[in-house]
Structures are given as structure tokens and as C-alpha cells.
């Protein structure tokens, strides 16, 4: 499955919480609680190469889940596809 790089908008930030990742957008402001557990780290959003590396390392079923989540991030305005 092709995976476009997903980049956080300048108005968005992310941090690690116990449940997974917490996304924040100053537009609103709004929050997104992502129950990603240890599957994704904040560094995932640091560069295109990191994303490719992480996605390549995932089994197909987990990769599908992560890509669906990334599409949600884009849809909700926290990120955009590059």
C-alpha cells in the first residue's frame, strides 16, 4: 500500500502519554487522544524517512491500522499529506 508522508501542521503538536499519543491543534484549540500504545512514537512525525522505516517494519495488518489513523489525522486537520 502506498504511504504518503504525513506532516503535522505548524499549528499542531504531539506528545507521548500513557495511553499513546496526544495531538494538539491551536486551531480551535482541539485535542485528539490516540490510543496508539507503544506502536507509534512522536518521532514518527519527525521525518519522511522515519515514517517509511517504521511502516516498512510493521506487519500488514498493523500497517493498515496505522495508515487509517494517519488518514484520520489529516481529515481532522492535525496534519497534511506531503
Amino acid at each position: 500500500m502506498a504511504a504518503p508522508a504525513v506532516v503535522l501542521r505548524p499549528t499542531s503538536q504531539v506528545r507521548k502519554e500513557q495511553f499513546g499519543l496526544l495531538f494538539y491543534s491551536s486551531l480551535g484549540p482541539k485535542l485528539l487522544f490516540a490510543e496508539t500504545g507503544a506502536a507509534l512514537s512522536c518521532e514518527f512525525f519527525s521525518s519522511d524517512s522515519v515514517q517509511k522505516e517504521v511502516l516498512a517494519s510493521l506487519p500488514d495488518d498493523q500497517k493498515t491500522i496505522v495508515l487509517t489513523f494517519l488518514r484520520q489525522l489529516v481529515k481532522k486537520g492535525f496534519a497534511y499529506e506531503q
Binding site: T11, Q18, F19, S26, P29
Partner: protein, 342 residues
């Protein structure tokens, strides 16, 4: 809003209110912190920078600057720059009177990370100036015009009072005509607002009218101010529970930490950043723990409980001296108050 995650405790506030000074060039009759003269022993520039380092390390996303008038502090631009260097977003509440072309141009250099709320409390000079002081309406409008010509995200912020309640749609239109957004905030009985509560307090009917109007205006932002008053249609736009000590907290001018800006008294004192690391206060302060486990049992049978979870504890405290007593001005109580008057 994922209440489950919020109530189990986040590693740090999502945002916090930082009242960088108590000094103000105005004496607004509703001021939540009774600002005017500077507080004794306000944080120095070095102490402010140290706090920013701590908030950055704690991964706080945003600082909402208030006061007092933040721009009255000579080092305020340096404080802002330091926040932005650390990639912390900032939002500044100002009366706008100290802003000029040069200062706005300097802010515009950091426009990706800063937003500004200019306080205007009436759609006419007469209404606004009666609350905020002579000349404040014209001065604030001038500031909004300067800001609107830059990429800085700017809003007019109005505290809903009995005096301006019928001008809210007009204020919304004014903001639109100036090319900025409109934000409404709740009047709470703290600071000078407590002294003037009876005069400025909106009536139940005004609150209901405002609530109905708000439901038709999804572009109007309210922060968490009216979560106890807004209908289900607006729930997706904001909080459905009090965020104090869960999502946010307040740092006062001298470095004292409280659950929220409306509860800055000894009873709610969580610690001082002069004596403890910020994150230790966030993690361990007893008052913060008590807010995280606060349940408004008297509201649990209400049909709107899932929408407000008991509303604003600060209003309950100031009006009934009972933090867990349920918000005395929630939508249900407004409806009941009007029915009782009929």
C-alpha cells in the same frame, strides 16, 4: 473529549494560564484578578525563563498569557520569544492599548506561534467604556485593526455581562467586519468581578438567549467558558467537563500555582515554582489530586450531566462556597429560574 484519559491524569497540562503581572493600565469592573498595581515579588525575567524551560521539558503545548496587562511588562517580548524558541504556542489576552505599529510588526515576526485576544466588552464605546474605562473601545478597535492587517490569529474577546448581553450579535458582526474572529467568555465572580457581581451578572434569561444564539454560531469560540450552558450541537467544539488540574492550570504573577485562574486563593494553592519544580506541583499537589477526583454527585441525575459534568467548580465555589455543589448558572438551572419567575 476522552474524559477517561483526562481524569486518569495527563503527564503535563495541555495549556496553562500564566498571569505574568498583576499590573494593569485599566481597572475593569469585571477583572477576574482585580488587577491594577503590580504584585509584590513578581517573577523576574530569569525566573520566567526558567519556568519556560520547565514547561518546555514537560511538553506543555500552549501558554495563555494574561494578567494584568501582559504588554506592560518590559520583558514580555523576550518571554514570548523564549516560548517560541521552545516551540510553545502562545495566546495573549490584552486590552490592546499598549500596542502600536512597531509592536504589532514585532509580533507578526512570530505569527506562526502566537494568537491574540483583544478585550472589548461592548459594541459601542458607551457600553465598553462603562466596564473597562474611558477610551478603551476606540483604543482596542485600533489595536484590532493593526493586528488584522498581519497574519496573527486575532480575536475580539468579550466577557458576557448584563450590560452587553444584548450587543453580542453586534459584537460578532463587528469582529467579522474587522476580519477577526469572535470569542465570548463567561463572567465569573472572582477578583473585582466578585465585588461587582450583582451589577454585572447576566440574568438567567440573558444566558438562555445567549445560549440559543451561540448554538447558531459555530464560528464563535468560547474556550471552556460556557460548556455548562451550551447545547449538544456545540459539544464537539469544546470541553464537556472542567479542565482545571486535568488539562490546564494557572501560574500567578509571583509564581504561585493554582488549578485555574478563577481560583487563585490560599485554599486552592498548589505550590510555588520558586520552591518546587513545576512538574512536581502538577504531579503531586494535593489540591490538584482532589480536582482530578472531583465528582459533582448532586448533578448526576440531571439529563445534561454528560454534557457538563456539573459545570464550573469556580462559580460554585464563589457563589455557594461549595466546590462540588454544581454550577449555579448551568443551562438547567437557568431554565428552572425562568420557569420559577413565570
Amino acid at each position: 473529549m476522552s474524559n477517561r484519559y483526562v481524569e486518569q491524569g495527563l503527564i503535563a497540562p495541555v495549556n496553562l494560564t500564566w498571569e505574568v503581572t498583576q499590573q494593569c493600565n485599566l481597572r475593569c469592573s469585571h477583572c477576574l484578578s482585580a488587577s491594577g498595581r503590580p504584585a509584590e515579588n513578581e517573577l523576574t525575567t530569569g525566573q520566567a525563563f526558567d519556568l519556560i524551560d520547565q514547561l518546555s521539558a514537560a511538553t506543555v503545548f500552549q501558554i495563555n498569557f494574561g494578567g494584568g496587562e501582559p504588554f506592560i511588562r518590559p520583558d514580555f517580548y523576550h518571554i514570548l520569544e523564549k516560548c517560541h524558541e521552545k516551540n510553545i504556542m502562545t495566546c495573549i489576552s490584552t486590552n490592546g492599548l499598549l500596542l502600536d505599529e512597531d509592536k504589532v510588526a514585532a509580533l507578526a515576526q512570530q505569527s506562526d506561534l502566537v494568537s491574540i485576544q483583544v478585550s472589548i466588552d461592548g459594541a459601542t464605546p458607551a457600553t465598553c467604556d462603562a466596564i473597562r474605562g474611558k477610551g478603551t473601545f476606540d483604543g482596542a478597535i485600533q489595536a484590532v485593526k493593526l493586528l488584522a492587517a498581519t497574519p496573527i490569529a486575532t480575536s475580539i474577546n468579550t466577557v458576557l455581562t448584563a450590560q452587553n448581553a444584548d450587543q453580542i450579535p453586534e459584537l460578532h458582526s463587528l469582529a467579522k467586519s474587522l476580519g477577526v474572529s469572535f470569542r465570548a467568555s463567561r463572567f465569573r465572580p472572582s477578583g473585582r468581578g466578585q465585588e461587582n457581581w450583582d451589577e454585572l451578572r447576566p440574568t438567567a434569561r440573558q444566558l438562555i438567549t445567549f445560549s440559543d444564539w451561540l448554538n447558531g454560531c459555530p464560528d464563535v469560540r468560547t474556550g471552556d467558558s460556557f460548556f455548562s450552558l451550551t447545547a449538544q450541537e456545540r459539544q464537539g467544539l469544546g470541553l464537556n467537563l472542567c479542565g482545571a488540574a486535568k488539562l490546564t492550570c494557572c501560574v500567578g504573577p509571583t509564581g504561585d500555582v493554582f488549578p485555574c485562574a478563577f481560583l487563585q486563593s490560599e485554599r486552592f494553592y498548589a505550590g510555588s515554582i520558586r520552591q518546587s519544580a513545576f512538574i512536581d506541583i502538577w504531579d503531586n499537589a494535593e489540591i490538584f489530586q482532589s480536582f482530578r477526583s472531583l465528582r459533582i454527585h448532586s448533578c448526576e441525575d440531571c439529563k445534561r450531566f454528560d454534557q457538563c459534568h456539573g459545570g464550573c467548580p469556580a462559580v460554585a465555589y464563589h457563589l455557594k462556597n461549595e466546590i462540588a455543589g454544581g454550577d449555579p448558572e448551568c443551562l438547567e438551572r437557568c431554565v428552572t429560574a425562568i420557569a420559577d419567575d413565570m
